[in-house]
Each structure stands twice: as structure tokens, then as C-alpha cells.
């Protein structure tokens, strides 16, 4: 359960100090490379500046508590879906886009309100039922317009947009209702990007056998396996985040982050490749769009959510 102030949670404090330290060390390292060794660090510097904004934003939202966190994740989902809609062209259809945005708002609302039957925080039953209602509403639009031409593409894009970017990502917002909300959320928000960075770094160091050359030509098997190794070790290093986890859950968490994260990245790459674009947007300098940043998280969040819910309840 999230407390009124993040500082009351030892897990929150631990991550806060650790990441603040990490940012300082990384910043110092960049300064050293740039001025000490006269290396070109422009690209890394841009990415670093992005983190310098994103990390404090995430901590501020979690610090402010349950409602603020849900609102934050919902806004991220809005931004990510809007990028998807713009890139695919679905955005030209304001009816479809509007329904999906409403659906995403509904995911946020059910994450905030109590279950009317049991009174616990977060209406889980409705979260699971939402795709039914949103898909029904999306299908209603062409019927109301009495139009068939080209509608299947819009329906399909809207449904994918809602289910994947709105609802599956929305599981992350729903985690604020977990007993160990800070542990789960901070672990995911730390481990998933770290997995991305690890994959990227291992590619640089060794290996040239392409992982999926037709989807993402820069990824290699070595990078991918290296990232998986890092992600498998991470739950043990961060064991304080979830004291209730046994070996089985720790292994599963590692697999979900290590494999799921990379599949999430590749899934969005498939979409980008098919459209023929490089980035989904340009909101975060050095990272591309919001969707480029959270692509792995979308895939990982619901898998982790249902794993932990199955073993420990929320």
C-alpha cells in the first residue's frame, strides 16, 4: 500500500538515494570523459539529460502517493498512445482516437477507485473487464457513421492501441494498489530500463550475430543474452524490494524483465519498421518519443503484475 509520503517507505528511500547517487556518478563520468579524455559524449549527454528529467518526475509522482502516481502513468499512456496514433495515421480519425483516450482514462479511474464489493483499493474486476467495453465502443463508431471503407484498419489500430499501450501498460498504474507498491513499481521502473541499457552496452562490447535483422538491425544475440544475464541477477541484488519473493519468483522476475523487456522493444520495432519510421516521437531528447522509452515496460508490466498477483495477491 502506498503511504501518504514516499519517504515513509524504506524501499522508496533506498531507491531514491541509490538513483540520485547513480545520476551523480554518471554525470561526473561524462564530465571526466568529455573534459578529461576529450572524448565525444554528445549522444550520451543527451540521453543523460533525458534521465535527469525523467527520474525526478517518476520519484515526484511516487512520492506524492497513489492518486498522483496513477495520474502520472495515465498521462504517460496518453502521450504514448497519441504518438502511436500519429505515427500510424489513426490520429486523423478523432472519433477512434477519442474513444481510446477515454478508455485509457477509464484504466486510470478503475486503478484509483475502490472495488465496490470488497472495498479494497483498485477495482481489479473492472480492470480485467475494460477491454470488453472499450472494444465494443470502438466497433460502434463505424456503425454509427454508417461507413465500412477502410474501417477495419482503424478498428484494428484502435484496439491494438488500447489493449497494448493503454490497458497492458495500465497494469503498471494498477500496481499502486499492491501491498508492496513501492517495491514492485521501483523495481520495474529501474530494472526494465537497465535491461535496455545492458543490451545496448553488450552490443557495443562484443558480438555481431544479429538477433532479428529484419526488425531491429542493431540488436545482436550477444547483447540480448548479456542483458538477460544482468536482468537475471538483478532481482537478487534488489531483493530488499520484495522480501516476500522466494527463489521461484526471483527467477520469474528476472526472466520477465530480461526476455519480456527485449520482446517489448522488438514489438514496437515491428510497428515502426512496418510504418517505415525510426522513432515514434521526439518528446524526450536523446530517447525519441515516450513510446520509444516505455516500449519494454509495456510488455513487462502486465506479466510481472500477474506473476506477483498469482503468488502473493496484490
Amino acid at each position: 500500500m502506498m503511504s501518504s509520503s514516499g519517504f515513509e517507505s524504506p524501499t522508496f528511500r533506498a531507491y531514491l538515494f541509490f538513483l540520485a547517487g547513480l545520476l551523480i556518478v554518471a554525470g561526473a563520468l561524462l564530465v571526466l570523459l568529455r573534459f578529461g579524455f576529450k572524448r565525444n559524449v554528445d549522444h550520451a549527454w543527451k540521453a543523460y539529460r533525458g534521465w535527469l528529467i525523467m527520474i525526478p518526475l517518476v520519484f515526484a509522482a511516487l512520492f506524492l502517493g497513489r492518486i498522483a502516481s496513477v495520474i502520472f502513468f495515465t498521462l504517460v499512456a496518453f502521450a504514448a498512445f497519441t504518438e502511436f496514433a500519429r505515427a500510424t495515421g489513426l490520429y486523423r480519425d478523432w472519433g477512434m482516437t477519442g474513444i481510446v483516450l477515454l478508455g485509457i482514462a477509464a484504466v486510470g479511474v478503475v486503478s484509483m477507485i475502490d472495488d465496490p464489493l470488497t472495498g479494497v483499493d483498485g477495482w481489479y474486476g473492472m480492470l480485467m473487464a475494460l477491454p470488453v467495453f472499450v472494444v465494443a465502443a470502438i466497433l460502434l463508431i463505424p456503425i454509427l457513421r454508417d461507413r465500412a471503407e477502410g474501417q477495419l484498419q482503424r478498428i484494428a489500430l484502435a484496439i491494438l492501441g488500447f489493449i497494448y499501450i493503454g490497458w497492458m501498460f495500465g497494469h503498471l498504474a494498477f500496481l499502486v494498489n499492491a501491498k508492496n507498491a513501492y517495491g514492485y513499481l521501483l523495481f520495474l521502473l529501474f530494472a526494465v530500463p537497465l535491461n535496455d541499457i545492458a543490451a545496448f552496452t553488450f552490443v557495443r562490447i562484443f558480438g555481431n550475430r544479429k538477433l532479428r535483422p529484419h526488425i531491429s538491425p542493431n540488436k545482436t544475440w550477444a547483447g540480448s543474452l548479456g542483458a538477460l544475464a544482468v536482468s537475471m541477477a538483478l532481482p537478487w541484488c534488489l531483493r530488499f524490494s520484495f522480501p516476500e519473493f522466494g527463489t521461484r519468483e526471483l527467477i520469474l522476475s528476472g526472466l520477465i524483465v530480461g526476455i519480456g523487456g527485449q520482446l517489448g522493444d522488438l514489438s514496437i520495432s515491428v510497428i515502426k519498421r512496418d510504418i517505415g519510421i525510426k522513432d515514434m516521437g521526439a518528446l524526450i531528447e536523446g530517447h525519441g518519443g515516450v513510446l520509444d522509452r516505455v516500449d519494454s515496460l509495456i510488455y513487462v508490466a502486465p506479466l510481472f503484475f500477474h506473476m506477483t498477483r498469482y503468488f502473493h495477491g496484490l
Binding site: 500519429r86 505515427a87 495515421g89 486523423r92 478523432w94 484498419q153 519510421i277 531528447e285
Partner: protein, 241 residues
């Protein structure tokens, strides 16, 4: 199976502020919502704070594109002129605004593009291109171009010379030009003051003019500008009575 054809919006790969600097801007739900709310609020404020009164609404063409021209004395002018249009039409109404002033800082871009829906007008380097853009804008039915042909705010409350640009845009076209006179804006918010005063505003909308019979030449453009200035000035004389 045929493959799908995706049509990304033209600005999908741009950062939000860059998107706002574009013209024509791609429709954006958030911008439309923000603009509608901002206009509702500002219309309310103009009514209460400046007791805005609008006379001659019946002179506005209903469905055609048209140009609104008016005297220019304050930053209230564009918003006040837009207030004579229904809210549903403000997203297709574009006040021409100096790009060297209104599109320089992030705050100004946000205000000009979201609230005013301004068209960046390059009055220094390439005014010809901007005039051509105005012409193209008016080719789409239902568009409204808001122009202040003096090119800058008056320093003393009088109506300055009208620049011939308005003539170059409208000569030889059937686009109606609606002259307006806004009284009280100079007293309410003269150039150089920080904040508007609660002075009464009166917007008088005159009958539309058309310059279809004239060819697009420098002389005709000057003549059109002068005659529109005369129309605005006669509205001023009427309201001063």
C-alpha cells in the same frame, strides 16, 4: 492480402513546440481543447472586464472564407476580433502575427499557436511568401484570415497607413474583406503597458467588400489598402458620433 497504407501525421516526429511553429499546423486534439477553453474564458473576461460589445455581426459571411481587417492598437485586438466568430470556427480563423515577435520564445509560441491560432507572418525577410500563404489559406472554404494591415500597433491611437499586402491577397479574388473598427483597445492596453485596464471595448463590423474586378498589381493593391483604411475610418467616425 494487400498491405495497409499508413499515413503518419506530417509532424509526428517533431517535439511539441516545433509542431506549434509549423504552418499550416496539423490538427491536434489537445491544442483544439486548450484553445476552445481559453477562448471561452477570455470571451467571458472581455465581456465583464472590458464590457465588450459587438455591433454588425450580420455582416460576417456565413460559410465562405473571408478576411477580417481592423485597426491595430493593442494585444487585445486579435482575441477581440476572434470573439465575433462562433467558438466552432476559431480553429479555422488565423490572425496573421509577426513571426519575428510572436514566434520567438517558447511562451510566445505556445500562446500564439494555441490560444490565438496565429499564422506566422514574416514581415521582414520574405513578406511575399507570407502573402502567398495567406492567399492559399483563403482558397479553402470556411477559413478566416484576421489581418491588421497597419503592420504594427499604433503609438498614439490613430489609424496608421494600411500596407498594400491586403490588396495583393484579395485583388482579383472573390474573397470578401470585412472591415472592422475596434474602439477602446488603445485606451485599454496601449503599447508598453504591462496589463490591460478595464476600458470599454466596442467592435463594429462593417459590410463586406470584394475586389474581384481588379487585377493584382501594385497600384491596385495600394488602392485597395487605402479604400479599406477609409472604410475602417468611416466606421470609426460612425461610432464616435
Amino acid at each position: 492480402m494487400d498491405e495497409w497504407r499508413y499515413e503518419p501525421t506530417e509532424d509526428f516526429d517533431q517535439a511539441p513546440v516545433e509542431r506549434l511553429k509549423n504552418f499550416p499546423r496539423q490538427p491536434d486534439m489537445l491544442v483544439f481543447a486548450g484553445r476552445s477553453v481559453a477562448h471561452l474564458v477570455m470571451r467571458g473576461l472581455l465581456r465583464i472586464y472590458n464590457r465588450l460589445e459587438i455591433v454588425g455581426r450580420e455582416n460576417l459571411p456565413q460559410n465562405d472564407s473571408f478576411v477580417l481587417v481592423a485597426n491595430h492598437s493593442s494585444h487585445l485586438d486579435a482575441i477581440t476580433l476572434l470573439s465575433c466568430l462562433p467558438i466552432s470556427r476559431i480553429h479555422r480563423a488565423f490572425p496573421a502575427a509577426a513571426s519575428d515577435y510572436f514566434f520567438t520564445s517558447v511562451t510566445r509560441v505556445v500562446f500564439s499557436a494555441i490560444v490565438v491560432n496565429a499564422m506566422p507572418f514574416d514581415r521582414k525577410e520574405n513578406p511575399r511568401q507570407s502573402l502567398e500563404l495567406c492567399r492559399q489559406l483563403l482558397e479553402t472554404p470556411g477559413h478566416v484570415l484576421v489581418l491588421f494591415p497597419e503592420g504594427t500597433r499604433t503609438l498614439d491611437g490613430t489609424i496608421g497607413q494600411f500596407k498594400p499586402g491586403i490588396g495583393l491577397i484579395t485583388a482579383g479574388t472573390s474573397v470578401p474583406v470585412v472591415p472592422c473598427y475596434l474602439r477602446g483597445a488603445y485606451e485599454a492596453w496601449p503599447k508598453g503597458r504591462w496589463f490591460p485596464r478595464p476600458h470599454k471595448l466596442l467592435l463594429t463590423i462593417g459590410p463586406p467588400m470584394s475586389f474581384k474586378g481588379l487585377t493584382s498589381s501594385r497600384e491596385n493593391a495600394i488602392m485597395i489598402a487605402d479604400s479599406l483604411r477609409e472604410d475602417v475610418d468611416s466606421l470609426r467616425r460612425q461610432t464616435d458620433l
